[in-house]
């Protein structure tokens, strides 16, 4: 038990160290974020000292940009986990590797949400009054108490799921399904709940006709499903770009050698390599001497259709190149096999887990009679000393472990549908308000057209509507299948929704006041700096999470590395590549 705890802390410590190491771009990025955090902290200290008078809020408009950002980010957090649905419910393979990044984004978003609520409090020193048991949480009457529970619960759920999966990867163990899959499903329901509860925060107020509408909840969900995945599309491309680093070496520690069962096996010859070269021209760049070196360990297998070359879950130090025929790579989920890809002549499979020394994530079965070249992992490494071969093997690995374009297109589909629903629901709202007219329309009139000479929000909401409609049109056109246009669309979605849902929903609810008084709101400089600080802090958290998670997912940081042969100093806990 004590050892397990020690192991866990070593894991945390080694992960934390990863966050401190990087190239100059990483340091520059983290430096800028840290400076913004301190600027925000300074602004918040001023607010604590002088009170919320330093914000633009008043008794008339008593919530402002803090609560607007909070509302927006709850949506991002909810949507980030809703990406789990295609993976776990519909078994979508493309999104599988994105799930953990989505969940980490949810964690970062919830941290930001909690920070935004905290800075909005007049007496943050009394936060303990909210703690069940210690304080006086008004549950279930107050929707805010529901929000306290669901947001913190959601944070714990996601920290558990991400932490457990990453720790298992680190230990090179298969995660025990019962220990995380139930939580994944709870998190799916919970994600809907956090956003519904946040909507009910507003909907439940009978004295505020602008919010007191049943459509606000569905609108929140629709806009969350637009902005959340749009944010993930952008974030994943950044992740993809910055993580395509060089492949680490020397990852195979203490692997058992187990030859795959076969029907006809013979040592490989130069002719076999020649055959491979025909399909894989990059092999020509490998020096003759290296090819000589790898031949002794290599074997060629001739298998009949339906023959399994490797099994999901086993750990064997071999990589395969297909010389003839087709091999299906299949993955077992919920007792069913699902084909993930077909591998043809010149292509390799099994290299990722062989290099990482992790259990096979899929089973490879010959779709037709096939001839494959089976290389021990040492030989594969020798091949990879040639830059061309290194690149090709590395790129395939990136494709498998990281973010595929198809996954981004799947997300595009989600954004597309959600944006259409979002625009439709907005239209429903606008029709109801303006067609019937009456007293209830005052806030909407103020928002869309201006009221009694007050129109601070009018340019904002029309910007939002223009962005949303443009994004919707772009999403419906095939042009947004290109990443360049898709990225533009995503930016439009995010900005449009941020305005529509943040400032466009929170602020007009207060204007005019229940007594018909007009008063406008715009955030003060100090308030804006606090917001910037929190956003910077959230991005900082997300960067650190990714910095830790990516090497673990890639198998670069493992428990085995801890006891590796090459340790140099007392604190050299991070994987060190052994001398080749």
């Amino acid at each position: 038990m004590r050892r397990a705890i020690r192991n866990y802390f070593v894991f945390l410590w080694r992960s934390a160290q990863l966050a401190l190491v990087g190239d100059w771009r990483y340091y520059a990025w983290m430096g800028i974020l840290s400076i913004l955090c301190v600027v925000g902290l300074n602004a918040y200290a001023k607010q604590l000292a002088h009170g919320l008078i330093v914000t633009g809020m008043s008794d008339q408009v008593s919530w402002g940009v803090y609560i607007a950002n909070f509302t927006f980010l709850v949506g991002v957090a909810a949507a980030a986990v809703m990406m789990v649905i295609p993976v776990y419910v519909y078994k979508n393979e493309d999104l599988h590797d994105l799930v953990i990044f989505g969940e980490l984004l949810a964690v970062a978003a919830i941290i930001m949400c909690l920070a935004f609520v905290t800075v909005d409090l007049g007496r943050p020193d009394r936060f303990w009054h909210l703690l069940p048991g210690l304080g006086q949480l008004n549950f279930p009457a107050s929707m805010l108490s529901w929000d306290v529970i669901v947001l913190n619960g959601y944070l714990l759920l996601n920290v558990h799921i991400c932490g457990y999966i990453l720790y298992c990867r680190y230990q090179r163990k298969m995660p025990a399904q019962w220990f995380y899959v139930p939580f994944v499903f709870i998190a799916i329901v919970w994600a809907i709940s956090i956003h519904t509860v946040t909507a009910f925060l507003y909907v439940g107020l009978g004295g505020r006709p602008f919010w007191n509408s049943a459509i606000v909840g569905p609108r929140f969900l629709a806009s969350a499903f637009t902005a959340g995945p749009a944010l993930i599309i952008l974030a994943m491309q950044v992740v993809r770009r910055v993580t395509s680093g060089p492949l680490p070496q020397g990852l195979a520690h203490g692997l058992e050698s187990a030859a795959p069962d076969d029907t006809r096996q013979r040592p490989a010859t130069f002719d076999d390599l020649e055959q491979l070269r025909r399909h894989l021209p990059q092999l020509s760049s490998v020096p003759e001497q290296t090819l000589q070196e790898i031949l002794p360990g290599a074997t060629v297998l001739d298998v009949t259709a339906g023959h399994a070359l490797l099994y999901q879950g086993e750990t064997t130090p071999f990589a395969f190149f297909v010389l003839e025929g087709l091999v299906a790579v299949e993955r077992k989920e919920s007792g069913r096999f699902r084909m993930t890809r077909s591998v043809g002549p010149g292509q390799q499979f099994g290299e990722i887990s062989a290099l990482a020394g992790t259990p096979r994530v899929a089973t490879a079965i010959a779709e037709e009679p096939a001839r494959v070249l089976c290389l021990p992992v040492e030989s594969l490494r020798k091949l990879m000393k040639t830059p061309q071969m290194h690149r090709i093997i590395r790129s395939r690995m990136g494709e498998r472990l990281m973010i595929t374009d198809r996954a981004l297109m799947t997300l595009r589909g989600i954004v597309q549908v959600a944006m259409i629903i979002n625009v439709f629901l907005l239209a429903c709202e606008v029709f109801t308000e303006f067609y019937a007219g009456g007293l209830h329309v005052a806030s909407s009139k103020y928002l869309f057209l201006g009221l009694r000479g007050y129109h601070a929000l009018v340019p904002w909401i029309w910007t939002a509507i223009t962005f949303n409609l443009t994004a919707m049109v772009l999403l419906l056109l095939p042009v947004s299948r290109s990443l360049k246009w898709l990225n533009l669309t995503c930016v439009l979605c995010i900005v449009g929704i941020w305005i529509e849902k943040g400032m466009g929903l929170v602020v007009p609810g207060f204007i005019p006041t229940p007594l018909g008084e007009m008063a406008e709101y715009s955030p003060s400089l100090n308030e804006t700096l606090v917001c910037l600080g929190i956003w910077a802090f959230g991005l900082l958290c997300y960067t650190v999470f990714l910095r830790m998670a990516v090497p673990i997912l890639q198998g670069k940081l493992t428990r085995a590395g801890e006891a590796g042969p090459a340790r140099h100093g007392p604190s050299s806990e991070v994987d060190v590549a052994p001398a080749a």
Binding site: H50, L52, D120, L205, P514
Partner: protein, 317 residues
Amino acid sequence: MSQQIPDGTRTPLEYDGVTRRSFLRTSVVFAAGLTAIAAGLAPLLKLEDFPSLEEFMQKYYKEMTPEDMAKVLKRIEGQVEREYGIRPHVRDLKPMNGVEFVYCLNLTRCIGCRKCVHACVAENNQSRNPEIQYIRVLKMPHGSFDMDKAEHDYNPAMVPEKDHFYMPVQCQQCKNPPCVKVCPVHATWQETDGITVIDYDWCIGCRYCEAACPYWARRFNFSKPSIPKEQINPDMAYLGNRPRRQGVMEKCHFCIQRTRAGRYPACVEVCPTGTRKFGNILDPNSEVSYILRTKRVFIQLKEELGTSPRFFYYFDV
């Protein structure tokens, strides 16, 4: 010892252990970071309203024993004396049995002089700068009850003005108060005599009640209240007019320090036209019972919201 990857870049994962240079570098970065954070937090030195440990740990109003309460009242008296140079008398007045307070306001008589507004500020030790007022008088055009047409900042040389009537609005002391329902920490609740009160020492300042109130009756202390020393009203109640802290809510409490001691609220007392009537609805002989029994029409503001105010507007005709 670290490996060079073929393309010449070093992975971030390669780590040489602690060298003198890296140790120095880490220390410098660390020290710079700490200095920056300390500098960032410097404005906190100006924070006057820092709670003492005793205040921080103070129990919830309903969970305090009489001894706890006595201690707290003493502490508050000391604080007020230190700050304003006047020894107040702070009491924890409990609701009386058989009493339910109700307010009646005669719209025919109100002339919009705002004497009630200022009497209330003086009585209840509200902040003067920025000034917090519990009562808002609406100037309404003749014949309309649409509050969107109300004028809030009328300032003529003489009131009343032609073709207008005046409607003062303050906390309606609802029987079904939305503000109480939404408070996440039970910092505001309805007492048995019908007054919705706030424990200023328990409120976390989320302002959800302010958003929930359909009568715009709640006020927030956006900064530390400032009251001139000579204007302090030393007759104070825990749930009433004791000076508030920065960052908490407050509102009309029917002058709890007066009404629970048998006096009229300040606004009733000051009104020059007899517009305002206040009393116990459970007493059939009270003025308010008489009014609600005999007047043909009276209005509860925004009755359709189901808040059921204890505040009634009526007419002489």
